[in-house]
Amino acid sequence: MTEQEDFQRLLHHAGAQIPASNAPVEDLIRYGRRSKKRRNILHAASVAAAVALISVGAFVAPSPIGGGGKLATQATTATSGLEGPPTTSTSAASCLVEDLGVTRGVSGAWHGKLSQIIEFANQGDRSCRFRGSDIGIRFKPVGRDPVSVDMTPVANRTTVLRPGYSAHLLFGVPGACGGIYAVVAHLDVTVTGHQLRMEVPELRIGCGKPRAIDLFTARS
């Protein structure tokens, strides 16, 4: 008998002694359906966003804001990070502020609105629950009154962020007036009550009330 056959036999012998529970087939199908649905939504949102951005041709390269994007935190009230396996958790704890890196994503246009994406990357090592109602965005154009983004359309949206994934908040401002590039003194992003003030060089602010459009998940 060759050495190779000896090892082969030994590995099979060892493998047979490893306990394996019954396959959780029903759970896997349920999780699979959920993942498939999420993937389809993401795909549709990405395609629509790409088409809208390309059609206007108004890309601004993604850039980190707030000096690298990691939220400065004074969080003391965050919930526990306990939860199940990343891909299967349906009861993940809320995202901790210190685990989220915030960056400014692409800006462009969406269905007649000037749009901007803000990305919230899960830089922690656990999945966490990210809710639309946890986010607030406010900015102050130079020489104008502060403006808050109406988050109502995504307030009831919840997504589970696996490590390395980002929640993308897309918001838009009616741009029928031609799309004004304005100097914005700062952009305030609030997550679960903790605020980070970020300097942004410019933002297309349009001429109406800014409003959240979508909240979706993608790999960072």
């Binding site: 060892a14 394996a20 199908i29 390395g164």
Partner: protein, 167 residues
């Protein structure tokens, strides 16, 4: 639904083998079950591709190995904790001594060589299939296997196990 039926049959048949492969790749039993679960959820999402694959098992094992590598990389970023969690009843300390000995011997191999050994000797893939799963040339599979065998043959505990298991 035909897809669910095919998928269920596949999962029921392959689950134990996939979990055991994951354990031999270096996972604890509960980690192995999580890894296989993640893998099979991904397979469900892309079941049309899995079903059409010439080597269905190869496709699934490739997903599992990629997920394992990705988890492995992530674990490097994990910070040590001052407080150890309570021991889980499914922790791998319950595996038999022979498994632990084999696993310790495999621990001495690089991640890539270990994957070659496990795929060839436990999952029973051919050199060509192993090369396809790992995305490397057949020659690389053979050379890694050869080096791994040399290394494993130097392990005295493994040699003793082989000697004792001789018919």
């Amino acid at each position: 639904m035909q897809v669910d039926e095919e998928y269920s049959a596949y999962v029921a048949a392959r689950w134990p083998g996939l979990v055991r492969t994951a354990v031999l790749l270096g996972c604890r039993v509960h980690e192995a079950e999580d890894l296989v679960q993640s893998t099979l959820v991904k397979c469900y999402v892309s079941w049309d591709k899995v079903a059409k694959a010439t080597n269905q098992d190869g496709y699934v094992y490739r997903i599992m190995l990629n997920t394992h590598r990705s988890n492995h990389r992530r674990s490097w970023r994990e910070q040590p904790s001052e407080h150890l969690p309570d021991a889980s009843p499914t922790d791998n300390s319950d595996v038999a001594g022979v498994v632990e000995t084999v696993r310790q011997a495999l621990d001495a191999l690089s991640v890539d060589s270990r994957a070659v050994v496990v795929l060839r000797f436990f999952a029973d893939f051919t050199d060509e299939q192993t090369a396809d799963v790992l995305g490397i040339p057949v020659g690389t599979v053979k050379s890694r296997l050869s080096r791994a065998l040399v290394r494993l043959s130097r392990d005295p505990q493994l040699a003793e196990l082989i000697r004792r298991s001789q018919p």
